[in-house]
């Protein structure tokens, strides 16, 4: 009996150690971004010297990173609010109403998710250039709405499945219009799911690089990822700016992910977990 206890103990210890090692490996790079952003560029790469400072952040702000933060926040928030409103309506229609061509249209939404954006960059760039819409918020918001709508509809249709139909049917019987049902009945019930969807769309826009690098060429309009890559540079890297900027880009996404991870996994796995 003693032997078996010892053996179990050894297995358990090995499992916990292995898990800790793997998770340590997974967390280390991001953790390090935050640590490095608080060290002077001279001691940044040293494990022995620890000179703590916030000068990286103050220098970054002096370099005008505040503009980039504002651009990212403004662009992503506007696009996400609009795309969520559009997607909630569309998801309700797909989930609850029966109409001709529904399957085909829903198929088109799903295909939108699988479409390679890189293909669209050239034509979208040419079309915007001809319309004089390069370096404009309108074109970027348009792109970000179009990019997040298919994904949001897909996620929301998944969440709507868990909302009982009897609720909206009762409201319709009481004489409510569909719009009222969507925003007065469905919206409050599936609010967590809508927040998770909006967060996901926000993160998609927040880290988007491809369209913004093609469309936003003027310095004062660039978003955070673009600015980060400029500091990263071709040959000489300004590590202080890079690490402080990287930390500021990661912080909001980390804070948003933590409370919502359950919903996001559930949404993404919709149809795959249950069967």
């Amino acid at each position: 009996m003693r032997m078996r206890d010892a053996k179990t103990w050894a297995t358990e210890l090995a499992t916990v150690t292995a898990t800790a090692a793997i998770l340590g490996f997974l967390v280390y790079p991001t953790f390090w971004v935050f640590v490095a952003s608080l060290k002077t560029p001279e001691t940044m790469f040293s494990a022995r010297n620890w000179d703590w400072t916030i000068s990286n952040y103050t220098r970054l702000m002096d370099a005008g990173f505040g503009h980039n933060i504002f651009n990212s926040l403004f662009l992503c928030t506007t696009a996400v609010v609009l795309s969520t409103v559009i997607s909630v309506n569309a998801a309700y229609a797909f989930s609850r109403l029966r109409f001709r061509g529904r399957d085909t249209l829903f198929g088109a939404i799903l295909l939108g998710q699988t479409f390679p954006w890189i293909i669209l960059v050239t034509p979208v760039f040419i079309l915007f250039a001809r319309m004089g819409l390069l370096n404009s918020w309108v074109s970027m918001i348009f792109v970000y709405i179009a990019v997040s709508v298919p994904f949001s509809i897909y996620l929301l249709v998944g969440y709507l499945r868990s909302v009982p139909r009897s609720l909206d049917e009762a409201a319709i019987m009481d004489g409510a219009s569909y719009v009222q049902v969507v925003w007065r009945v469905i919206f409050p019930i599936m609010f967590p799911g809508i927040v998770a969807t909006a967060t996901y769309a926000f993160l998609l826009c927040w880290s988007e690089y491809l369209f913004s690098v093609a469309i936003l060429t003027r310095e004062e309009m660039k978003t955070m990822p673009l600015a980060l890559y400029i500091y990263f540079g071709e040959n000489v890297t300004d590590w202080g700016n890079v690490m402080a900027g990287a930390a500021l880009t990661t912080l909001p996404t980390l804070l948003m992910f933590l409370p919502l991870q359950r919903y996001m996994v559930a949404g993404l796995a919709a149809g795959s977990v249950k069967q």
Binding site: P29, N89, A90, L97, L105, W117, S177, V179, L210, G271
Partner: protein, 302 residues
């Protein structure tokens, strides 16, 4: 207002499909049209001349393109997706193990797993490029300090190391989503079923074969399909990590389109590459539709 189903449908679907049509459909058609011309970045205003299928002939006969195709399909997609799914499964089993559940560590592990997932790809690439750097990177200092290698390895410019390095970055950034999905699926499996099988004398391999894998199958299918799209279509990982280099050694379809269009300024040729890529993806997308859309809508009409 919008009381009849028909008027509500127009109100609900028109905005969404306006964006889909303007952003996906129209540019795609425009792209096909452009691919049949020699449009260049300097002839943007005037428009290119019609050259028929010349771009496609050049593309499909070019040995460079064959390597691009090989890189995209074999390295980026096949290797990338396989590594992610296998490691994701292994890690999900580990996190779901009795020991971790007993010590209540599964939730803590799940929260930590969020960290790489929540790190934006641009930041992930920057920090990994630093870690893999031969002069200042922590991986090389660890390797040389412990004497595993004599000289620092330039991971991102050495042809033997560059693909594994790119795959390492992609895997690090995307593994959590796959793992968490598999973990959610494992946690929805009834414990009684596993116990009953164990009482009947099933070993670990038999449990895997007859209980776990059949239960995980739908999750695996969805994750394989979705990962394939995300990886095949992805531009930033290769572009920002190596810029398709050294030379054009890690050039993939997405970076080829970007290089030909925005650097060489050959928008017509770039468009033709895009059409080929879209064709490959659409064929694969139809498989996806058959699997996913069926499940979604069949469940809807139940």
């Amino acid at each position: 207002m919008y009381t009849t189903p028909r008027s509500f449908l127009v109100y609900a679907l028109l905005p969404a499909f306006f964006f889909l049509a303007c952003f996906y459909v129209y540019p795609s058609i425009f792209n096909i049209q452009t691919s049949l011309t020699d449009l260049g970045i300097f002839t943007l205003r005037r428009g290119g001349d019609w050259i028929g299928v010349d771009n496609y002939v050049e593309l499909l006969t070019s040995p460079d393109f064959r390597r691009v195709l090989f890189n995209t399909v074999v390295w980026l997609t096949l290797a990338g997706v396989t590594v992610r799914i296998v490691l994701g499964l292994a890690l999900a089993f580990l996190l779901n193990s009795r020991t971790l559940r007993k010590w209540r560590l599964t939730t803590a592990a799940r929260l930590l797993l969020i960290v790489p997932w929540a790190t934006p790809p641009v930041v992930a690439i920057i920090v990994w490029r630093w870690m893999l750097d031969p002069r200042v990177g922590s991986i090389n200092s660890a390797l040389t300090a412990t004497g595993i290698v004599d000289q620092a390895i330039p991971f991102l410019s050495d042809a033997n190391w560059v693909w594994p390095a790119i795959l390492l970055i992609i895997t690090w950034n995307t593994l959590p989503l796959v793992t968490l999905t598999f973990l959610a699926s494992l946690q929805s499996l009834s414990a009684e079923l596993v116990e009953a099988a164990e009482i009947d004398g099933a070993g670990p391999l038999q449990l895997l074969r007859y209980i776990y894998l059949p239960h995980l199958k739908p999750a695996i299918i969805v994750m394989v399909l979705m990962s394939t799209f995300w990886t095949f279509n992805n531009f930033v990982y290769v572009w920002l990590t190596t810029g398709a280099g050294p030379g054009l050694y890690t050039n993939v379809m997405a970076t080829e389109i970007y290089i030909k269009g925005f650097i060489d300024g050959r928008l017509g040729y770039s468009a033709a590459t895009g059409v080929v890529m879209a064709t490959v993806m659409t064929l694969f997308g139809l498989v996806y539709l058959r699997v996913i859309a069926k499940r979604e809508l069949v469940e809807e009409s139940k």
